[in-house]
C-alpha cells in the first residue's frame, strides 16, 4: 500500500483555514497580506496576528501549515521578501513554498532547518529541473505545473527522491505557471511580479444594449448576453476571434478535478494533492475539503473498488468555475 497522501487545502483567510482543518485537510497553505504570494487580492491573506492564530489553530488539530512566498522579488523590494522568509521561520510554519531561486538561496542559507517546497510557480516539469533545486537548496517537495500527462507525472516521480505534489481541484491555469506574462502584458501586473493575474483594479464591467462587457485595462475580454454566466475575467478564459471565428481560444471557464483518477495518482506515488482557491470563500473550502477527504480516504483504503461517487462529482461541479470540470493536461485529449 502506498504511503498516506496528504490533502493540502487553501487558506485565504482565518475562516477558510478553519474550514479546511475542520473538514479534514492534512495541511493548509496560506500567504501574507502583500505581494509576496501569488494570490495577492484585496481582503485576502494573513497579517501577523491572524497568521499566529491560524498556525496555532491548525497545529492544535494536527494539521500542518505551509506558507506560500511564491512570487518573484525584484531588487527594489527584495527586503520585503527576505523579511517574509524570516517571519515565517519565527512563526514556526511547517514549510515554505518558494518559486524564486534567489529567495530559495536566501532561505536555505539563513534558515537551514526550514523545510522548503518548490512552488508550482517555479515551473519545474522534469526530474532534472527538480534536481537543480534539490542539490542546491535541499528542497523536500515540488508542486508540479499543470502541464504534464499522467504518464509524465509518473515518470517524474520515478526519477526523483523529492516528494511530488499535484493539483487535485480548482481553477485551471492553462499556461505553465510561472511562465505567463499575459496579465502584465495587458495590465502591467502579473503573478510573478505582483502575485495577481488579471488584477481587479484593471477590470471594468459595462452594461451595453448588446450585453454586459468586461474589459481588462481597456481590452474587451468577453461580452455576455442574457443568461450567460459571467465569472471572474481571467484573460485566458475570455472569448476572442481567430481567423474570424469567435470562441474560447485559449481555455473555457472550467475547473480541474482529479476525482476520476485518484487511485492512479496514489499508485504513481504522489505525496500530496492540492486544492486551488485561496481567493475562494470558506464555504467553498469546506465543501471541497470535505469531498476530497472522503474520496482520498476511499481511494487509499480500496483503490480497486474506487469510483467517484456521483454526489461528490455534483458537489464539486457546483462550486467549480464554469460549473464543469476537466482533467486538464493529465489527459492527452485536453492538450
Amino acid at each position: 500500500m502506498a504511503n498516506k497522501v496528504e490533502l493540502v487545502c487553501p487558506a485565504g483567510s482565518f475562516p477558510a483555514l478553519r474550514a479546511a482543518v475542520d473538514n479534514g485537510a492534512d495541511a493548509v497553505y496560506m500567504g501574507f497580506r502583500d505581494a509576496t504570494n501569488a494570490r495577492n487580492f484585496p481582503g485576502l491573506n494573513f497579517d501577523d496576528r491572524t497568521a499566529r492564530q491560524g498556525i496555532d489553530y491548525a497545529h492544535a488539530r494536527g494539521a500542518k501549515v505551509l506558507l506560500a512566498l511564491n512570487t518573484y522579488p525584484q531588487p527594489q523590494s527584495w527586503p520585503i521578501w527576505t523579511a517574509a522568509v524570516d517571519k515565517a521561520a519565527t512563526l514556526g510554519v511547517d514549510a515554505l513554498i518558494l518559486a524564486d531561486p534567489g529567495l530559495m538561496a536566501y532561505a536555505a542559507r539563513t534558515h537551514p532547518e526550514l523545510r522548503l517546497h518548490l512552488s508550482v510557480q517555479g515551473s519545474a516539469t522534469s526530474a532534472e529541473a527538480i534536481a537543480f533545486y534539490k542539490e542546491r537548496f535541499n528542497i523536500q517537495r515540488v508542486v508540479l505545473p499543470r502541464v504534464l500527462s499522467l504518464s509524465q507525472v509518473k515518470r517524474v516521480i520515478a526519477n526523483t527522491d523529492v516528494e511530488v505534489e499535484t493539483f487535485a481541484f480548482g481553477s485551471l491555469c492553462v499556461m505553465v505557471e510561472g511562465r505567463c506574462y499575459l496579465s502584465s502584458y495587458a495590465t502591467g501586473e502579473s503573478p510573478n511580479t505582483c502575485g495577481a493575474c488579471s488584477p481587479a483594479r484593471s477590470v471594468r464591467w459595462e452594461e451595453t444594449p448588446q450585453g454586459r462587457n468586461v474589459r481588462l485595462n481597456g481590452v474587451l475580454i468577453d461580452s455576455y448576453k442574457g443568461d450567460d454566466s459571467a465569472g471572474y475575467p481571467v484573460l485566458c478564459k475570455g472569448r476572442f476571434l481567430v481567423n474570424g471565428k469567435l470562441g474560447y481560444v485559449l481555455e473555457e471557464p472550467t475547473s480541474l478535478s482529479v476525482l476520476g483518477i485518484l487511485p492512479q495518482l496514489i499508485e504513481a506515488g504522489v505525496a500530496a494533492i492540492k486544492v486551488e482557491g485561496r481567493q475562494r470563500s470558506p464555504a467553498y473550502v469546506a465543501q471541497v475539503t470535505k469531498v476530497l477527504r472522503q474520496a482520498l480516504d476511499t481511494a487509499q483504503a480500496n483503490p480497486e473498488g474506487y469510483s467517484p461517487r456521483s454526489d461528490w462529482v455534483a458537489q464539486l461541479d457546483k462550486v467549480a468555475e464554469g460549473s464543469t470540470h476537466t482533467l486538464g493536461a493529465l489527459e492527452r485529449d485536453w492538450q
Binding site: 534567489g102 506574462y181 492527452r332
Partner: protein, 303 residues
Amino acid sequence: MKLSLGPILYLWSREQVLDFYKQVASWPVDIVYLGEVICSKRRAMKLDDWLTIAEELTAAGKEVVLSTLVLVEAESELLAMRRIVENGKYPVEVNDMAAVQMAADKVPFVAGPHLNIYNCESLSLMYKSGAARWVMPVELSRDTLQVLLDGCPSELETEVFAYGRLPLAFSARCFTARNEGLPKDDCQLRCGDYADGVVMRSQEEEDFLTINGIQTQSATTCSLLDALPEMAAMGVDILRLSPQSRNMAEIVEIFYEVLDGELSVEAGIKSLNKIATGELSNGFWYGKSGMEWHTVQMEEEHA
C-alpha cells in the same frame, strides 16, 4: 552594443530556414541563436542541420549559440536537450532549469529569457553555475535592470529582447491545433501555415495576442529602438532581435544604423512602423503594461 538574432520561434519550412540563414551570414549581427525552442514536434530541422548552419555562420564571423526547448514534458525532449547541451562545440542558451542542471559547472551557457531571473541573488546563482550571459525576462523594466546591472559581476554579459513579438506564455496545450479543431497528437503541424503566428483579436476586432503552437505571444511587436542610447549608458551588452518572416534584413539594418549613429532614433522608428508585424510596443521597458507604446516626450511632459 552587439546585435543578436534570437531563435526562429515559428515553424518555417526547411527551405525557408536554410534560405533565411544564408542571408543572415551577410547581415550586421554579431550573435545568432539557433534551434527549436517552442515545440519538439517540429522536426523538419534536425540537430545536424542546425550544426551545419552553425558552421556556415561561424565561418561568416558570427558567434553561434544553440537554444534549447522552453517547456519540457517528455523523456525524448530531455534526451534531445542533453545532446544539445553536450554538443561539445557551441555554447547553449538554456531556457529551463533542466537545461541549467545539465549545463551547470560543465559548459558555459547563456541563461535564457524564460528562466525567471528577477533579482541579484538569482542572477548570482546563474553566474556561479556557469552562465556567461543572461537575457532579461521580457516583463522586467529598465529600473529593475539598472539595479541588476549595478549588482552583477562585470564579466557577465547582459542581453535584452529589443525587437519582435513578445514571448508571453507557454502551455501543454497547442492553441493552433485547438483552433483548427485538431487534437495536439494529430496537429498536422498547422502552425506551419502561419509564418508569424496567428493573431487573436478581441470581439471589437482589436489585435491582442498571437498564437504560435503552445506559445502565446503579443500581437504587437516590441521595439526598444528608442531606448538604445539609454541601454548603452546602462551597460547592456547585447540587443536581441527576434526573427519575423518578412523584412528582417531591413529591421537588422535599422538597428545597426541607429547604433552606428548613421540613422536617428526617430527615423528608425518611422521605418520600423512600416515594416513591423503588428503595431509597436515598449511598455514593459518603462514599467507599464507590455502592450503600450510609450514615448519619451510623454514622459517628459509627465515629469
